[in-house]
């Protein structure tokens, strides 16, 4: 792979899933593949599991890793062409990306959306400019509209835990106190639509995802109906796409409860984490045997390692 920004960069999805599951059993089989290669991890937004899992994946492949927390290092980047840079932006992405590209063989970039300018966010200006100017392959660590390493992780976790050939997978909106990006649900929908699963999305009115992400998925505003017979419940809050970036409803009735899980086919509970207990989902669900959120988080390593392996082989 020359880059990894979305599922569309994956030529052979089932093959990549098998690669990740194989690496989980053979983590050091390719520990010389990344010799003399450096992965730069550039965080415009804070990260815990993405940074740790990607760093570990790269080191399992023998790569060196250099982490840059741009937020804390206060490095204001200019992204506009032709800008007269007499304000608080110290460097243009044209130089910044090209310079980091001089020191790294692959660059991972995390950048969240503004949630104020839908058009700009959905144009993926930040990561696309790194692709344009870095001169080396770019790995998305979550961009304005997608979180592909998370979604790939979710797919391999479903693959390794499913009890039926074609499981029913339900993406359900859940309440939250903050306005959150659509990146995780967008990306999850994109990957589920590309996989061999029965995919259903449920959310309150006004929370429809962008059509290019929901695709042909069945969508219902009836959460209980969606849960019936589900094999996997994937919970996540997101802010509105229509009324962009707004919280138009935080109905606690949408919290995931054990009672609702009773409607399912003993569904596994999934969440990308971090998760707010007793707001998004009640303790009883997270603490039950059917919660696979920790296994899911652990699989971030194998997803990242499979992707980095393909990028190194490209």
């Amino acid at each position: 792979m020359k880059q990894f920004l979305s599922v569309h960069d994956v030529p052979d999805l089932p093959g990549l899933v098998q690669e990740a599951l194989w690496l989980k059993q053979n983590p050091y089989a390719d520990e010389n593949l990344g010799r003399h290669k450096t992965l730069g991890l550039l965080f415009f937004n804070a990260s815990l599991r993405t940074r740790l899992s990607t760093q570990k994946a790269a080191e399992n492949l023998g790569m060196k890793v250099m982490v840059m927390n741009v937020t804390t290092d206060s490095w204001g980047l200019e992204f506009e062409d032709g800008a007269i840079m007499n304000g608080n932006k110290a460097e243009h992405v044209k130089e910044a990306a090209a310079v980091v590209g001089q020191y790294c063989d692959i660059i991972g970039v995390r950048s969240f959306p503004s949630l104020t300018d839908r058009e700009k966010d959905y144009q993926e200006q930040v990561i696309k400019q790194f692709v344009k100017y870095a001169g080396v392959p770019i790995l998305s660590l979550e961009s304005a509209t997608r979180h592909p390493l998370q979604s790939f992780t979710d797919l391999i976790t479903i693959e390794e835990t499913k009890t039926v050939a074609r499981p029913k997978v339900v993406l359900t909106w859940a309440p939250h106190v903050k306005a959150l990006p659509q990146a995780v649900p967008n990306s999850f929908a994109e990957w589920m639509n590309a996989a061999d699963v029965d995919f259903v999305i449920t959310h309150p009115e006004g929370y429809a995802l962008a059509p290019e992400f929901s695709g042909n998925a069945r969508v219902t505003h009836n959460q209980r109906e969606a849960f019936e017979g589900a094999d996997f419940i994937y919970a996540k809050n997101w802010s509105s796409y229509e009324t962009y970036g707004q919280i138009i409803n935080s109905d606690p009735a949408w919290m995931i409860t054990q009672e609702k899980m009773g409607l399912t086919n003993q569904a596994k509970f999934m969440h990308c984490l971090p998760v707010r207990r007793n707001l998004v989902v009640e303790d009883a669900v997270l603490d039950s045997a059917n919660s696979i959120v920790i296994q899911e988080a652990g699989n971030r390593v194998w997803a990242a390692q499979a992707v980095l392996k393909r990028m190194l082989q490209a």
Copy 2:
């Protein structure tokens, strides 16, 4: 060792001291022991020497190290069971610890006390919840009430510099402008009480350590009397345990001076650093040949390396 939270986790103290001194002479003898093992260093409070010395120790053993500065990465953790997480805490320690445990073979945790809630601080809620939920061994990098890597370092430094078989070791309170934790004096007392030394504690009235830490040590409020015939003077400020977290006395007469050092048996001067010159101790003492604070700081590496070696062998 399955964990390292206090001297009580050390089955064979003299053996561990000898291990550390041997590693100081043979730093790379075990450089393959930690191959394919990752140490995570999680700092809820800033650190310089603990981070550098522990990172170096782990790398001497061939481990990979991942550092997480949680303070700067602004990651609010919830520690209360059953909390409804609709405030500013983004993740519960139940998930946070378990997730980091997915990426690390050993987790080092630093977390300071509140100095406002004595009961909660002395329950060691933070580090104990990491022990409970991480699923991998926990290494204390200083907790609310103890700093065991520092105290072990102090013991090996005494062992390598003592001129008599059973030295007189004096822990003396010293003035400071900030209210500091009791972790270092608590822990030092705990380790000295477990070692073969003549241990004396001196402090102004109102600064008594918790009984479980001072144990059977001789305690006096007469600093000059305590110094008489001492082989080691260990200076440290701490806030009150009785009037919890308060500065009830900052009498400059308690500063360590060359004149007072004259009362000792040419005692070595020790401090865990950082130390405020001419407040805790005067320049003349720190700049004298009897100050071993830099050697002591250097020994942090060998203490950490001996502990990590035993944890890897467990």
Copy 3:
């Protein structure tokens, strides 16, 4: 080399230039030289390219690297002898430098000037105290008055791109909105004066560099005249040395334009980056084939690697 603070620490400048260019072709030829050696990178001011390029250079030599961002870790250092440390400074450089020296074989230090106290800045108090107390070799990552790794990079970039034996190199002041240090122009002048080039400095009145740095370089206030026949244009803003740290002129007429580049001998355009587009230099120049700023930034690795190699061999 026992230290690297300025060009005066380089015994054989042409030889070091050739070493850097050789390492660019043979980056891993010495990958065992730094085995069991640790480089500490101590940043009192934020850094992107210096940190990444120096870290990569050290790892190419097989060294371990430990990065300390002292700004973000809020570690107030006292530099005054005899200070009574009852304020907000937690540690004296005497201990801080010596302790870091216990954990590192070489220490890189970055510390910017105050721009308020010229005498103190030009005494290089911070880096000189690290040299005095660390007990290990010190590598400047930019100090109050010099940026030697940048200037060495600039020299090797000139060497590898020059089209005449003795090129005309012009250092030109350019406008900026912030008061910037003189470190880069000071250092560039020092290195150009030591190299076999025809060196000219041009700046508005009131921006003369300190005489010990400008040395015998030709200086003119006529930018157009300076550009005539130039083979390299090196642009940089700096605040006044005479009216210390002040912006006494930000005349936009001094911006580097394609029109002015037309006066040169098809000069290469250089800048240490980050650069503010259309303030310091217009897009047309940076986006032209004659801009070598990215190649220049990439060469930071080989400059640092050549210097570290000599320090390891010392």
